[in-house]
């Protein structure tokens, strides 16, 4: 091939390559869109897109600008004047949803705090004027309360839009409360193997969601229908729950769930073993189940009460039964608390309790004895009081007695009357 022909072919190739390159470049850069600018700083890159949103049709801003910047990642690149963009940016870099909430909720709160401040600052310097004028203050409170309620609603709407339908300003507090509830429930179910605990918790969650669905139904359900649905759900939940548990597990669950299970919390200073406590609950359940309730409260007949006490006495033995009854007596509990606080032996409280019981019985005897003349009765009651105080000082010691008298010593004054 001659040199001339080679030059011609090469020039043609120059032309073709040039045209292809220019057309390719034009295709990649639409008309009216500025050129991309790249700034190399590190190997991390971020695209800053300042184009107006396609949804923002009303905007009359200049055409979109897209800039690709390769640089070290900075938080400022996530920030936006618009929370939705800020949230989307956080999610886009893989920020966990929980952390997104931890960032956004205080930020939105801060925004609304500024608005609260705006509401308050207008009246801040009239504090004394309002406080001195009851009517003006009441009017101000009503007005501001309305404004604050509106702000609350607005804030919740913003949070729902940003973080989902379950979000509101109590979201974080609710989450913490839920952690506590689940932990408490786990402890309540700690007699079950781990897999069953998980199944029970899953069941709780399932029915909680179902209840929420019913509560949030649109249009809202009538109260009667709502209650009926809740009742059916409860029955269904109980059924499914019982199906998970073995018979002995179910028995334990029912005991723990009994209205009498809190007996264990009321026994001041009375140490009962697990078997004893369970038996106490069983006995109380047995008698309550056999008695017609009044307004949802257990109302035992005096005969049933006697039988119940007899069964408890049989189970505990006479001596421990006395201690069991005393432990639930408010008069003993007050004495026990003082002794416990001052680290006195428990015997100090039981001795003091006996002193009180004996003194009150004696005083009652004197009061009802018609043969004693009025002046002598007063003198005898005074003597009982003095002797009781002396015995209590001896039992408790002067410091504990003084403390006890200040807190719970009103009965001593009545003793002398």
């Amino acid at each position: 091939m001659s040199a001339q022909r080679l030059i011609a072919v090469s020039l043609c190739l120059n032309l073709v390559l040039g045209v292809v390159l220019i057309r390719g470049y034009r295709r990649s850069t639409p008309m009216g869109q500025p050129t991309l600018a790249t700034k190399e700083i590190t190997n991390r890159s971020l695209r800053l897109d300042a184009r107006r949103s396609p949804l923002d049709a009303s905007s009359t801003q200049p055409p979109a600008v897209a800039v690709v910047v390769d640089e070290a990642f900075r938080w400022a690149q996530l920030e936006s004047a618009d929370y939705r963009v800020y949230v989307a940016n956080l999610r886009a870099i893989g920020c966990p949803e929980e952390t997104v909430r931890d960032i956004i909720i205080p930020d939105v709160n801060e925004l609304f705090y500024r608005r609260v401040k705006g509401l308050v600052d207008t009246v801040q310097n009239r504090f004394w004027e309002f406080l001195a004028d009851k009517k003006a203050l009441q009017k101000l409170v009503e007005e501001k309360q309305g404004q604050l309620e509106a702000l609350d609603k607005e804030r919740d709407a913003v949070l729902k839009e940003l973080l989902g339908p379950r979000a509101d300003h109590r979201l974080r507090a609710n989450e913490l409360a839920e952690i506590e509830q689940v932990a408490a429930r786990k402890q309540f179910l700690d007699f079950l193997p781990a897999d069953k605990i998980d199944r029970c918790l899953a069941l709780d969650e399932k029915f909680k969601n179902l209840r929420e669905q019913i509560a949030g139904a649109e249009p809202p359900l009538e109260s009667k229908e709502l209650q009926a649905k809740y009742k059916r759900l409860k029955e269904q939940q109980d059924g499914e729950f019982e199906a998970i548990l073995a018979p002995e597990e179910l028995a334990e669950y029912k005991l723990r769930n009994s209205r009498f299970a809190d007996t264990r919390l009321r026994l001041t200073g009375f140490d009962a073993g697990e078997a004893e406590l369970k038996e106490m609950v069983r006995i109380q359940e047995k008698f309550a189940g056999a008695s017609p309730g009044v307004n949802g409260q257990v109302a035992l007949t005096s005969e049933a009460q006697k039988q119940q006490r007899d069964e408890l006495k049989k189970m505990l033995g006479v001596e421990r039964f006395v201690e069991y009854e005393r432990a639930q007596d408010n008069r003993y509990q007050e004495m026990y608390q003082v002794a416990d606080r001052l680290q006195l032996p428990a015997k100090a409280a039981s001795d003091a309790y006996e002193v009180r019981a004996a003194a009150e019985a004696l005083a009652q005897q004197v009061r009802t004895d018609q043969t004693i003349p009025e002046d002598k009765r007063t003198a005898q009651l005074g003597a009982i009081r003095a002797e009781t105080e002396r015995a209590l000082v001896e039992t408790f010691g002067p410091k504990a007695f003084e403390l006890y008298q200040t807190r719970s010593g009103q009965w001593l004054a009545q003793l002398g009357r």
Partner: protein
């Protein structure tokens, strides 16, 4: 010459070919990075700034395969904070992220540990287990505080964020604290909340039985908090804050029945704050009335009498009387005259004087004394009825404050 043209043309071809290859490579590399902005929610209305003028929506689309949150997350909070600071995350946001995370972590830590007494325990065993649990919780709380302090420094506190949920409380706090900067409001709030927490802890531990050592611990916490407030506020700001807090407390304790001007009320509240608040540092539960000692009561009354003068002081005393308050409460619903309460109060003073005279008169006893008492009661009853009218009088007798009208003979 031909050789030169040929070399130049081939060289140009090579350059163009390389440019084309590079261009194609770049195009194919950037194609999948579609701007995330498309997937973003509609921007515009929820502006972070208070002034919500029309703005161009600014969308930042991160290239997620190059930067991911995982890069800054760390099990070690100090490292996590350092990483966040490293990318320029604002301190306030770091504080928000870390305090929320720590709060959650410690809630789990606190609740995951089983109750040491087990479900079925009672009496001393349960009480001992409860103490163990409370001690464990206190230790965790202290550990949490120390951790936050260590990784975030003293300026970050979750207290404000916790309180930020409640706009009404925020508004009230702002209203009461007086004209100070935002930062100061938050710090004052945090100081008070932390003090209240410590006080609560002392009271819980005392279980309703306060020993001298508990009182000393309370006084110490109060003193420390007051010192901190003195550091945060100027003396004038602290005095104003204390007075405003006291004024609100006094409003629920009889002051609402005492008509004052704004200036008078402010001065009274300042005296009250100086005696009860700043005097001994009991600056807690700003919206609850503090327990007051008789010595403080006396000092307050002496200073108040000196400020108000005898006549106004007598009116102040009257405003604290339930007899007077009872009629004030009936004034508006029964369209009584503004002076009705004062008139009934004066009648009561006269009746009391009459009773005292009778009691001092040893020559009148038995049925005669009873007859005279009944006469005073009847006269009083007619007088009060005359001031209040039938309807309001019946209402007055029904409320506890009006019983004095009918209990002369059998109190």
């Amino acid at each position: 010459m031909k050789r030169v043209v040929l070399i130049a043309s081939v060289g140009l071809n090579l350059v163009l070919a390389m440019a084309m290859v590079r261009f194609r490579h770049e195009s194919s590399e950037s194609a999948p990075r579609a701007p995330v902005a498309r997937a973003m929610p509609e921007p515009v209305a929820i502006s972070k700034g208070v002034s919500a003028g029309p703005k161009t929506a600014e969308a930042v689309s991160a290239v997620t395969n190059r930067f991911h949150w995982r890069r800054i997350e760390s099990e070690d909070y100090a490292q996590y904070v350092a990483n966040l600071r490293g990318i320029g995350c604002p301190e306030k946001t770091i504080c928000d992220i870390v305090t929320a995370d720590v709060e959650k972590a410690y809630t789990i830590k606190r609740t995951v540990a089983p109750f040491p007494g087990g479900f079925w325990s009672s009496g001393t065993r349960r009480a001992a287990a409860t103490q163990v649990q409370e001690a464990r919780e206190r230790a965790l709380e202290a550990e949490k505080g120390a951790l936050l302090q260590r990784v975030l420094g003293p300026d970050c506190s979750g207290e404000w964020n916790e309180q930020a949920d409640d706009l009404v409380e925020q508004a009230l706090m702002r209203f009461v604290i007086g004209p100070v900067s935002d930062g100061t409001v938050q710090k004052v709030f945090t100081t008070i909340k932390q003090g209240e927490e410590l006080v609560k802890e002392i009271r819980n531990r005392a279980n309703g039985i306060m020993l001298p050592e508990d009182e000393a611990a309370l006084a110490k916490v109060s003193g420390q908090s007051l010192e901190e407030l003195k550091r945060l506020l100027t003396p004038e700001q602290l005095e104003e804050f204390a007075a405003r807090g006291e004024a609100i407390g006094m409003m629920d304790h009889g002051m609402e029945y005492f008509q004052t001007t704004a200036t008078e009320l402010r001065q009274i509240a300042h005296i009250h704050a100086a005696v009860f608040w700043l005097g001994d540092g009991k600056g807690f539960n700003l919206f609850d009335h503090q327990e007051e000692s008789p010595v403080q009561d006396k000092e307050f009354e002496t200073r108040l009498r000196a400020y108000l003068g005898e006549k106004r002081f007598a009116e102040y005393q009257r405003a604290k009387d339930p007899v007077f308050q009872g009629v004030v409460d009936l004034t508006e619903p029964n369209s009584l005259s503004a002076s009705a309460a004062a008139k009934v109060y004066d009648i009561k003073q006269l009746a009391d004087a009459g009773r005292q005279t009778l009691a001092a008169d040893g020559s009148v006893a038995g049925p005669e004394r009873e007859a005279q008492l009944r006469q005073i009661q009847d006269t009083t009853r007619l007088a009060v009825q005359g001031v209040l009218g039938e309807k309001a009088f019946a209402a007055y007798l029904q409320q506890g404050n009006g019983r004095w009208v009918t209990n002369f003979v059998n109190p």
